[in-house]
Symmetry: C2
């Protein structure tokens, strides 16, 4: 490279560098969050743990942040998305299972009888999950989930579910990662279900998803090695299962945790009880107009104990209606 050319290249590089730094400086990394104490508290926490000269500095390798999925990163009303998937699968598979017509909870699932389904409780839902989520390889399951997500639409919002993620939370995930955090999903939902879209929707790769799981078996099928999903529970990543799942999977206690329901209580409790700066955040669904308003009496995403504990533990409660400028991503 000639000398003038080299100098020009250096100048150009400097320019690129300066403008990149400028964008990072004046730019609001959380444009969908209204100004106020909630946003301030989040920014203050990130500023504190990334300030190398401050007393609250946390090394990048310890900046672990965990996020619940249903109700925290995407919609969970009028029912968990994975339950909608299971119900659709029951309907799709019904012709192969003529006995389901007269057998609960399948009958209720086929007829859309949500009352009977709810009455069947966790046991009923588990039966539906086993019948629809097992008996195939993880790859085949991914194909089924991917096809369903591409086609299914939420009735009220007339959108696919992966467009019913929360724009302010997408910004928060990016903001944390830009500040050296590793972001994990810690979901009560199925680990393989969430992995189908976690990378393309949230930027969270499969290995950074923790979730509930069924057992899997390694076997040789027609001379080819394969994994087979079995109709047997392996791990329930909910309530006190969340700290257990985090310890097993990540091997570190998070310094920040984000949830929205009593299923996240123990994750928030364990995270914020650690030493040094800690952040616990609860998304409170207060916006019936733009999304939903629910808490203590909800079937899905019930928020009761964790809401009471928030004050005592210094957890930030996001008031969706007032703290979020925008709920869902803008239409493309």
């Amino acid at each position: 490279m000639s000398k003038p050319l080299l100098r020009a290249a250096v100048a150009l590089a400097a320019l690129v560098f300066v403008s990149a730094a400028g964008a990072a400086d004046n730019g609001d990394p959380l444009p969908s969050w209204n100004a106020g104490p909630t946003k301030d508290a989040i920014v203050a926490f990130v500023t504190k743990v990334t300030d190398e000269n401050g007393s609250g500095f946390v090394a990048p390798e310890d900046r672990v942040a965990t996020f619940d999925n249903d109700g925290t990163l995407w919609i969970e009303q009028p029912m968990y998305v994975q339950l909608a998937f299971a119900l659709d699968r029951v309907k799709a598979l019904a012709p192969e299972h003529p006995d389901w017509k007269d057998k609960q909870p399948f009958k209720a699932a086929i007829e859309g009888d949500m009352k009977t389904l709810a009455a069947s409780g966790e046991k009923g839902v588990a039966e539906l999950v086993m019948a629809t989520h097992a008996g195939m390889t993880p790859d085949a399951f991914q194909k089924i989930v991917g096809d369903w997500l591409a086609a299914a639409k939420d009735e009220r919002f007339e959108r696919g579910y992966t467009k019913l993620v929360y724009q302010p939370m997408l910004e928060l995930l990016s903001y944390l990662r830009d500040n050296g955090f590793t972001t994990y999903i810690v979901s009560g939902g199925g680990i393989e279900f969430v992995r189908n879209f976690s990378e393309r929707v949230y930027g969270i790769p499969p290995a950074q998803v923790v979730g509930s799981s069924i057992k899997t078996k390694y076997e040789i099928v027609d001379g080819e090695p394969a994994l087979l999903r079995l109709p047997e529970m392996n791990f329930i990543d909910d309530k006190d299962g969340k700290p257990v799942g985090i310890n097993q999977h990540i091997g570190q206690r998070p310094i920040a945790a984000f949830g929205n329901s009593d299923g996240d209580f123990q994750m928030l409790e364990w995270t914020t009880a650690g030493e040094g700066p800690r952040l616990g955040v609860i998304v409170h669904h207060t916006d019936a107009e733009r999304e939903y308003a629910y808490d203590r009496d909800s079937t899905f995403g019930r928020l009761d104990k964790a809401l009471d504990a928030a004050v005592e533990n210094g957890w930030i409660v996001v008031d969706m209606k007032n703290d979020w400028k925008q709920v869902f991503p803008s239409a493309e």
Copy 2:
């Protein structure tokens, strides 16, 4: 410093500098590997999957490489390091358990009676593990393991175990990471045991360690949230457990797998049966002088079925004696 000594020091410094610069520039990333077909095959694979214009290109997010630990990354003779740890723990805890003096397999462990211990089989070893690895928090366990690793020494080599890792494999881990791979440990050993040193010794963070585990329980102790390690097996990450553990933890099929025993057979089989370029590598312990020579008849790290399968499957067999210029890192 005398003049001749000073001159010698300067010459040495220059030599070190030149060789360091040489390594960085023209660059043999695998200096402890002798030239030959083994090294060529590894480099050819990495070159192929990273060549954006080639037909074998693999996107960085799919460059997943999994490594067994015992016998692949560090020594496993005359017994697994974790077994040496368990035996030492039995001795340390024996005063609190007077009944162990007359109770197998504890009696054999205390007396160093390896024959009786071996005869107690997997059940006996599991009993020792439960008695020594459970009943405390993961943090407390980390402290115990860390203290032990800092003090314990291998008798033959008169070195701590974390200095009995394989220098060529350390170079391989770095080489793969420098080429956009994510490196995971997939060990039959305990996940929490391996996590104690994986980051500082191998550069592999806790979340990238897959291993066997015992169950853990979340509870509140004296008002503080805590995890408690229970004397109950959770998952055995060996043989057909390895593909299952990889799928559960990583959620992707590796494109390269490295092992040394029949415990790694299924991991290698599953990895190399996938589409596109695949690499399966077996470390064959052929060096009785510098390390150990063992395979089909060994109690620890038995290599029989996987050695036969290597030819058929195109797995690379590393001949430790001839392929490795150096086995352990140089003394500091």
